[in-house]
Symmetry: C3
């Protein structure tokens, strides 16, 4: 099953997490504080952001990505998929039931 | 080698991390603060939790999962396995020696 | 594409993140606060550390690992590679352009 890794500004991160759960695109979302270091226009930046780890299913992955792109404030957001090698069966069942 | 992703209430998370290391089921555990968003009984909840990232071995993975299930306060805990594509050799050796 | 998972003391973590981005070994690095639980000399330790998640490319992975080993204060640092199953195409392009 896929965990989707998304970074977003702290203010928007909770809205994105809520939207994904409310619209049944993710069963749950873990939100963690981060500092992101990157280069933009030749300068090094350090921004406070949040990492979102959205727990979804194979079938809902494409819809989740489309929805994040619609509501995310960045033109080029970090959206990455990591596949779990195993998930506790009862938790996998709950995930599948929680997502459309 | 597997990294095991577990979420738990903040109070119990340190106990779980300590138990896994003391009982040589994990070489080390990284614990991070998170806010979890999920739906339960039709309502959206936001709970403060911890993410545990337990570094173990192929051979100890099943025992680690069984132990987490015994001591975890939830009936349906989030327990997920992510396999590393590569690990620095000296760190992999230390992990293997630290786990039974 | 690889995400490289590195743990480091909080003071050194920002320097490592900056070095990797400045030297174009990573497009961006997310830094998160963590408490690490591990055994050393028979004793259980709990240390404040940072988790670095460095976004790089297949071609730059080996150089990134070599550079982290040079500047990391530990003899046996935690350096692990997790491969993404999918990355948003525009973000993947930006990563590839940002890394040499």
């Amino acid at each position: 099953m896929p965990t989707v890794y998304v970074t977003a500004p702290p203010e928007e991160a909770q809205t994105i997490a809520e939207t994904l759960v409310e619209e049944r695109l993710a069963a749950c979302v873990n939100r963690l504080s981060t500092t992101s270091t990157y280069r933009w226009d030749g300068e090094i930046h350090h921004d406070d952001e949040a990492v979102l780890l959205a727990k979804t299913t194979d079938d809902s992955y494409d819809d989740l990505v489309s929805r994040v792109r619609e509501i995310h404030p960045y033109d080029v957001p970090c959206i990455e998929r990591f596949d779990e090698a195993h998930v506790l069966e009862s938790f996998a069942d709950w995930r599948a039931e929680s997502v459309d």
